[in-house]
Amino acid sequence: MISAADYAVELHGISKRYGDFTAVKALDLAVPKGSIYGFLGPNGAGKTTTIRMILDIVKPTSGSLTVLGAPSAMDVRERIGYLPEEKGLYKKMKAWAVIAYFARLKGVDAKTAKSTARELLERYGLSDFADKKVETLSKGMGQKVQVLASIAHKPEFVILDEPFSGLDPSNQQVMEDVIQDLNRTGTTIVFSTHVMSHAERICDRILLIAKAEKIFDGTIDQAKALIPKVVQVSGINDAAQLAAIPGVKSISAEGGMPGSFSVQMAEHADPQQLLRDCFQHGIELTSFQYHEPNLHDVFLHLVGDDAKVASFR
């Protein structure tokens, strides 16, 4: 039995309209405490709008929400950290001072803010830049500083809007580490991204939205289960025999090569079982290939066509 107290965020039928245009439509969502939740979706899907509504930066047109048990994020803002989509910092301030300043706004006392700022910069490889002005940092470094600024007050709930954009591969790794480090200490994390591999690696659950509407919400495994498993086999003499095996939904000839087929599996069928069944039925195979579908496939499968339409709206 999961009670309301176990969710960091609950959205109940939340909508946002800008004039006639609906940016988010009747969205329901529950983010369990301690989870890492990925918001995925094509450009213009409504991810940022949802995040802003969670933070009470924009007011929902209809629907209700709770954040850490409160009706508005403003009431619990000291327990929340936020990295906005468009990154920017005070250019004339020193890196450590920016981090300390935002921590202070979240109620951290001056001394702790200062020491935490330096500690974080050190931990994530920026100690050389601690006393540099923000305007002298590169975009990626500035972004790292901003991420640190959003977590310096040790929030229990962190929202990061596209934390990976603009980072080089090794810093993307650092960013993943930051998220996982935070999660290890019990922090709930929501982040949005367009890079499926990050989501796949670190998310417990994902929310997929397109054109303002929720398409999918659940664990990574559940998401993957949404698309049929496909096995490539070759060396088949009798296609009918293959089709008769339980768990096989349909088969189709693989282009060009005689005896090569794509096998679409039934929803809960196990590819391993298919291999065993082939063996039992004396079907000889020259090759058997099974690729676990990844999130990228899921994304394209679910929103592929929509995404193109949305991006040219």
Partner: protein, 550 residues
């Protein structure tokens, strides 16, 4: 509230650390100092002595001009002597007398003659006018020493030697050979001018000095008959301008000499008229020095102190300076506010701020922080103003001391602080709203372009309002909320009616509250907006809807 203070602290630190802020802060005293000191130095050291020659074909006036020159120099000596006495007076001696401020409060303001910025020389002129004997004594051989000996007992031990001032107006002999072959007594003045022109144009040097010939004065034959007066206009004065005294000079801005010559000659002409009418010029002169005590009184002042004093005159003009300071201060700081807001918006820092603090807190924080910057600047300015005035307030720059005393005692400073506060709040509200609607500094500046014209009004009108503080222009502008603080500051010294004082007080409070309220609405809507600034109607609509939402 805590958040507001953090935000305020950051705004303050960021703006107080900019170069512009310090330049602003330091420029003011430096400019003030230089604008007092430079003319003084120029006057004392750099202004060249004026050499001139005079050809008096009538032979009647060169004596009077010489005497006037002598007088002029004695006045300069006397002035310097007074400064010398003040500068090296035994400490404590001057304190016993009524102090400057008190004296000024008592001294009747003059309708003319005394320039409020330089009362010392004005007074000296009056003194000389009324006691020519004093100057005569000074002119006698040993006269100066006698004066110095007289002063000696009032001075500190071993004062530096008194240095007599330079002679600024010098009548030279006609350069040797310049008028050879010309019958100076009877020649056509044109001929004399032609002969001396090279000297005037600095083509030929004078013999005993590097200075060029500054002027040539010619009093042609028969000039003594070219006298204008009631009932005496012998010829068309336009046609015979060259029949009277001719003053030739390439420099027409320095009128010291021409005025001196003109006055001396006219005085002599008048003296002759008296004689012609069988009047005794000496008696007349005595009579002319007879005046009745005259003073202006102000019925609004406390009983017994109604006299309109020198201090009042200064007080009347001092607000102009304050209006200017107020204007500069307010617009300097609200511009900072505008720029910071636009920066936060264009950087999208505002979004992080909004996740940490309410729009209201952010606004308050910015207002407080920038107000702090403004206050620092003002306090800096006023302290440095007072310091510079105090420092400069020697006998040479008497008005500086006067101004210092008047500013201290006039009660203008608290009013200034009050009007700064309300002016700031009103304009800060306005600029914050503008800032929150603009995405780039450039956009904000476009907005500002139009605004500036409207905002300049208090500067354009400040002199008129000081002259006529209860006139219809002043009264009208007083009740235009955007101008109230400036105009009331402008009128502050003229004891505006109680109704205006209290009425505008209430008006300013209401205006600033309304402005802040409106701008908090606009700020909330504006900061998150991107794209074109909204149209006016759209703005009004969104304000009203946001009002309904709450």
């Amino acid at each position: 509230m805590n958040n507001s203070l953090h935000i305020a602290g950051r705004e303050y630190a960021e703006n107080a650390r900019t170069k512009g802020f310090w330049v602003n802060l330091l420029m003011f005293p430096v400019i003030l100092f230089l604008s007092i000191k430079v003319p003084q130095i120029l006057e004392e050291k750099a202004k060249p002595a004026r050499h001139f020659v005079m050809v008096d074909q009538t032979g009647q006036f060169d004596v009077v001009v010489d005497r006037a020159l002598e007088r002029h120099y004695q006045m300069a000596v006397m002035k310097k002597l007074l400064e010398y006495q003040k500068k090296y007076a035994k400490p404590g001696l001057n304190d016993q007398g009524p102090d400057q401020a008190e004296l000024l409060e008592k001294m009747p303001a003059q309708n003319m003659g005394i320039n409020p910025s330089d009362p010392a020389s004005g007074m000296l002129e009056m003194l000389a006018e009324q006691n020519p004997e004093l100057l005569d004594t000074l002119a006698q051989p040993g006269g100066l020493d006698m004066f110095i000996n007289m002063l000696a007992s009032t001075l500190v031990e071993d004062p530096p030697m008194f240095e007599a001032p330079r002679q600024m107006l010098i009548r030279d002999e006609i350069p040797a050979g310049a008028l050879d072959g010309i019958d100076v007594e009877h020649a056509d003045p044109k001929e004399i001018v032609r002969a001396l022109k090279p000297y005037l144009l600095d083509e030929k040097p004078l013999a005993d000095t590097d200075e060029p010939l500054f002027a040539l004065v010619i009093i042609p034959q028969g000039a003594e008959n070219q006298i204008k007066g009631p009932g005496r206009l012998p010829k068309n004065p336009l046609e015979c301008a060259d029949e009277g005294v001719q003053f030739w000079s390439t420099n027409l801005t320095d009128t010291d000499l021409s005025r001196l010559v003109e006055n001396a000659i006219n005085k002599e002409v008048q003296r002759r008229e008296y004689v012609r009418h069988h009047l005794d010029p000496d008696e007349i002169e005595k009579v002319q020095r007879t005046t009745m005590q005259f003073a202006s009184f102000d019925p609004k002042k406390a009983e017994g102190e109604e006299i309109v004093s020198m201090a009042d005159t200064i007080r009347k003009w001092a607000p102009i300076g304050f209006v200017y300071l107020l204007w500069v201060a307010i617009f300097t700081v609200v511009n900072m506010l505008l720029n910071n807001t636009v920066e936060e918006k264009s950087n999208r820092i505002i979004e992080v701020l909004l996740s940490s603090a309410t729009p209201w807190e952010i606004m308050c924080g910015k207002l407080i922080g920038i107000a702090g910057v403004g206050l620092t600047m003002m306090v800096g300015w006023i302290l440095s103003l007072l310091a510079v005035l105090k420092f400069m307030a020697g006998p040479e720059v008497e008005w500086a001391g006067t101004l210092f005393d008047v500013i201290q005692s006039s009660g203008l400073l608290p009013l200034f602080a009050l009007y700064f506060l309300f002016g700031y709040l009103t304009y800060a509200g306005l600029f914050l709203a503008i800032g929150s609607l603009c995405n780039t500094v450039k956009e904000a500046q476009n907005f500002m372009g139009t605004a500036t014209v409207i905002l300049m009004v208090p500067l354009f009108t400040m002199v008129f309002i000081a002259q006529d503080p209860h006139g219809s222009l002043a009264t009208f502008l007083t009740w235009v909320p955007l101008y109230t603080p400036f105009v009331m500051m402008n009128r502050a010294a003229a004891d505006p009616p109680m109704f205006d004082l209290i009425g505008t007080g209430i008006l300013m409070v209401l205006t600033s509250i309304l402005m802040l309220w409106l701008s908090s609405r606009i700020f909330r809507l504006g900061v998150l907006r991107t794209g074109q600034p909204p149209k006016f109607l759209e703005l009004v609509r969104s304000i009203t809807t946001s009002f309904k939402e709450q």
